[in-house]
Symmetry: C2
Subunit: 200 residues, 2 copies
């Protein structure tokens, strides 16, 4: 075995020992709250990736889109093929700058949260995705204290994924895993259109 391969083996043996120790220490099985925020891509698509991951494990899933809804998306078309496995609700009427009507947006968001609560009370649902909920919170369409209380009151083993820019600090405080998606580069700025399959 040559030098580089031998050094690789030694380094990886050490790394494995450290990681195995961390895994042994992480023993709690419990539903977690995952928040995807930041200005970069991948917040919603990561949520949809977790939806199919959960479906692969036989979990029932619910999806509520708080802002999107006016336009049908690839993920919606796809997930509507599995009505017994996923409850899919596009409750918004587009982005807030499209509607320009705050009272209607508030009323839509509150209807969506009333529905969200029914899933947060149902232990048969393994994972819920609240897509763009952060936007509804940022614009104060929903009362943050109520949302947080309802999230904390859910079944022990239920996972929640929340997406959208500008996650409020109070939500980050109660979340288990929080990722900030940061823009390094964006095709849109280079004059490439939002396309089926990549953006919607």
């Amino acid at each position: 075995m040559n030098d580089i391969n031998q050094r690789h083996r030694v380094r990886m043996e050490r790394k494995k020992a450290v990681i195995d120790q961390k895994i042994a220490a992480a023993q709690k099985d419990i539903g977690i709250i995952i928040v995807n925020t930041g200005n970069g891509k991948g917040k919603s698509s990561s949520g949809f990736g977790m939806v199919v991951r959960a479906m692969g494990h036989g979990m029932k899933v619910a999806v509520i889109q708080f802002i999107k809804g006016a336009m049908s998306t690839g993920e919606e078309k796809f997930l509507r093929r599995f009505p017994d496995e996923v409850s899919f609700h596009a409750m918004g009427e587009g982005y807030t700058w499209e509607t320009q009507d705050r009272e209607r947006d508030i009323s839509k968001a509150q209807q969506a949260w009333a529905l969200a609560k029914t899933y947060l009370s149902d232990p048969s649902i393994g994972l819920v995705l609240f897509d763009e909920l952060n936007i509804a919170l940022k614009y104060r369409y929903l009362d943050l204290d109520t949302v947080i209380a309802d999230l904390l009151d859910r079944p022990d083993m239920q996972h929640v994924v929340i997406t959208g820019r500008g996650a409020p600090d109070e939500l980050i405080a109660i979340a288990d895993t929080v990722t900030e998606m940061a823009v390094v580069k964006h095709a849109f700025k280079a004059g490439i259109a939002a396309q089926a399959g990549t953006e919607w």
Copy 2:
């Protein structure tokens, strides 16, 4: 209409004008390269979200996992239900610190890239996901120049999603959209196990 709602409308009208202008300027329809990197969560799951988004638009998809493979994941179980729509290949044998065998990892990665090239030559494939390719590049299991040349040589309308920590600068340079997933908080550090449906 009260004050806050009126101000909201004015602000959103302005925002809509700016965004509509940007959309009008972004006219190119072309296959793009998307890179998800960084130490945070959501790199692979975002890739899988894009896979189902593309499937929702009727595209054919190919997935090659360069590192994962020893353990069946939720996304694999799920996507194997659609053999006519997705070609799924888990070509790795686990993480590099599990195998500790650099020569075998290199040989596996090179087999995986040979397969990747067949999809990068097939215009009927609308989107390819090369999961954890960045790891294979970082450990120099694959020649970066070859990989970049093959990526650039693909069909015009084909999208490519590449995930993994430590994306090389040369790859970022040729990519259209690059997101850095940054850790804000991670459940694992709080002693919560890697669980079905959220981590695998």
